[in-house]
């Protein structure tokens, strides 16, 4: 049962070949069996899941409900879920029971999904390895001595090991695409403003975007039909029509213009990664696409740009954690300043504190123009470069990550090296563009992802290009052996 895609499970539920209760019990049993090894869930919600499954079965028996009715699902623990612990993988929110549902959660509930639980992540979504979690690191199902990527590492590991058919994630600088690539999944970061951020615990408000982590592009399209849309509760939500993402999945790619950013294929690129991506490019040519080269010169600077802008925004957003209204509070504060300083010193983890310090520094008097304003100016130049590239081509293609999954502990003490693992995903986030990572092959038994990037609000085109590729390849069907029993 766990080998089926979300789309196949949806068909089985509707054909009454299986009930949502049976399906839910099956995935809960898999979580029980395997998650001691992976640590991909922070909270498992069996009582809620079985009750939701029971309700879904009633709808399915009557022949009504959406295509997601009765489908087991997991949410990254960054989304507020009414009455359920929502920790953001931080000691700061270890005792936080969300008093409302995020819009994304609410819309998927209305569609009939069954919540298996909340997945592990890097604390406040700050990280690329899922080692920055108060609840411990997540292991990659392809090799448990390696990271699953981050920050949506728990969602990725859980889907890769088929502990859930699909999961939600968030992507601020690559946090859906990078773990999708390292775990052999399809991960879509939609256009900034496409999916509501209401109830998504804020990290960097000009970058954060929610999206699906799935086995296939078809599954992602199915989920996007319920996830995307305008939400007046989110002031950054953009009012744009939402297409039916399933309708264009099979469109021909004949004449599709694909650009290869030369900065993504420099001599620094690992030859094995290059060979794998080149093979994918050849397949796209066979599918009728036309390949050309483009240039995005300021992509070389994306790491400092991102860490300045995202850190500045997180320094502002995380000011709310003061120990007064909710969350962790230090013991016996002697005065108000002591309450704030010890609460935040004890409640935040190392990486979060590093970014708060960095963000506070770049926003402080005397440094704001040199760092923050300068970074926002170069970001403007970068966006113009993308616009120029998209005058020539329909989509851009490149590797999602510079390497396959690295070892646990390998980069944890070297933040610059860790940050460089997001070098191919960050520019897209800074420009607010949609991008999808899909499985493109294996190197020494570890999966590698390829990234397709589109103009704003062209998720349907990206899903179409990803789906057609998945029709002629089977990388996305491979499951880690030790979790396929």
């Amino acid at each position: 049962m766990h080998n089926y895609t979300l789309t196949e499970l949806s068909a089985s539920l509707r054909a009454k070949k299986i009930s949502s209760t049976e399906l839910t019990q099956h995935f809960l049993a898999r979580i029980e069996k395997y998650d001691k090894t992976l640590n991909s869930f922070i909270t498992v919600t069996p009582t809620i899941a079985l009750e939701q499954a029971k309700q879904a079965d009633l709808h399915l028996q009557k022949g009504n409900g959406s295509p997601l009715m009765g489908i087991p699902f997991a949410h990254k623990d960054i989304f507020c879920t009414l009455g359920i612990k929502t920790s953001c993988a931080s000691k700061m929110l270890d005792n936080f029971i969300a008093p409302y549902d995020a819009t994304l959660v609410s819309w998927l509930n209305q569609a009939g999904i069954v919540l298996l639980g909340k997945t592990n992540m890097d604390e406040f979504a700050m990280g690329s390895s899922n080692e920055n979690s108060f609840y411990g690191a997540v292991k990659n199902p392809w090799d448990i001595s390696r990271v699953p990527g981050g920050s949506s590492g728990g969602s990725s590991a859980a889907v890769a090991a088929r502990l859930t058919p699909a999961a939600s994630g968030t992507d601020t600088g690559g946090s859906i695409r990078q773990p999708a690539a390292l775990c052999n999944l399809t991960g879509l970061k939609p256009t900034y403003g496409r999916i509501s951020r209401y109830g998504l615990i804020a990290f960097a408000s000009s970058l954060d975007q929610a999206g699906p982590l799935t086995q296939t592009a078809e599954d992602a399209a199915l989920l996007m039909n319920s996830m995307a849309g305008f939400d007046e509760k989110d002031s950054t939500s953009i009012e744009q029509p939402v297409p039916n993402y399933l309708l264009t999945l099979n469109d021909s790619l004949k004449g599709l213009k694909i650009g290869l950013p030369k900065e993504y294929f420099s001599q620094d690129l690992d030859p094995k990664v290059s060979t794998t991506i080149q093979a994918a490019i050849k397949l796209y040519e066979q599918l009728g696409a036309k390949i050309s080269r483009v240039s995005l010169p300021n992509c070389q600077l994306v790491i400092p740009l991102y860490y300045i802008i995202a850190s500045a925004e997180c320094a502002s957003n995380l000011a709310r954690y003061d120990g007064v209204r909710y969350g962790y509070r230090c013991n016996n504060p002697v005065d108000l300043n002591d309450l704030y300083e010890r609460t935040r010193g004890e409640g935040f983890g190392h990486e979060t504190k590093r970014r708060l310090l960095m963000g506070t520094y770049v926003l402080s008097a005397g440094y704001c123009d040199a760092y923050y304003t300068k970074a926002q100016k170069i970001r403007a130049l970068l966006i113009e470069e993308f616009k120029a590239a998209f005058k020539e081509v329909d989509i851009l293609l490149g590797p999602t990550t510079p390497t396959t999954a690295f070892k646990l502990g390998e980069k944890i003490n070297d933040p610059v090296s860790m940050y460089l693992s997001d070098i191919y995903t960050i520019a897209i986030s800074l420009a607010g563009l949609p991008a999808i990572s899909i499985p493109a092959g294996f190197i020494n038994g570890l999966p590698l992802g390829m990234q397709l990037i589109g103009r704003p609000f062209t998720e349907a085109k990206l899903l179409n290009a990803a789906h057609r590729y998945q029709q002629v390849t089977d990388w996305h069907k491979k499951i880690p052996e030790n979790f396929n029993l």
Binding site: F96, I97, P99, Y192, G193, E232, S235, I238, N298, Q300, L301, P304, Y307, I308, A315, A319, D322, V324, R325, Y326, R329, P333, V334, D335, L336, L339, Y340, E341, R342, R344, G345, E346, F348, K353, R354, L356, L357, M358, G359, T360, Y361, A370, Y371, T373, K374, A375, Q376, K377, I378, R379, A380, L381, I383, P415, V416, Y419, L430, G432, L433, P456
Partner: protein, 95 residues
Amino acid sequence: MSISLEDVNKIAGLAKIKINHEEACHYLKSLQDIFKLANQMDAIETHSVQPIAHPFGITQRLRQDKVTEVVHRKDFQQLTDHTEAGLYCVPIVLE
């Protein structure tokens, strides 16, 4: 520009985060490495460039000034043990 230990302690104060000397030294080293990268931005001429506020140039959407939500004060205050008479409690600021 280079960041010093004094800077780290100062910004920790501004960020309201208590750190000890050992932590300050640890953060100093990593922040210096990160700012070395950040200083690469100096090579880009941006004098005539406007900093962006939104990737698509969209301005903040406004809404009408009318009540749309009810404040669930009682529910929200259940998230902490430190309330009294409907107010949040903090250490005494003024005697």
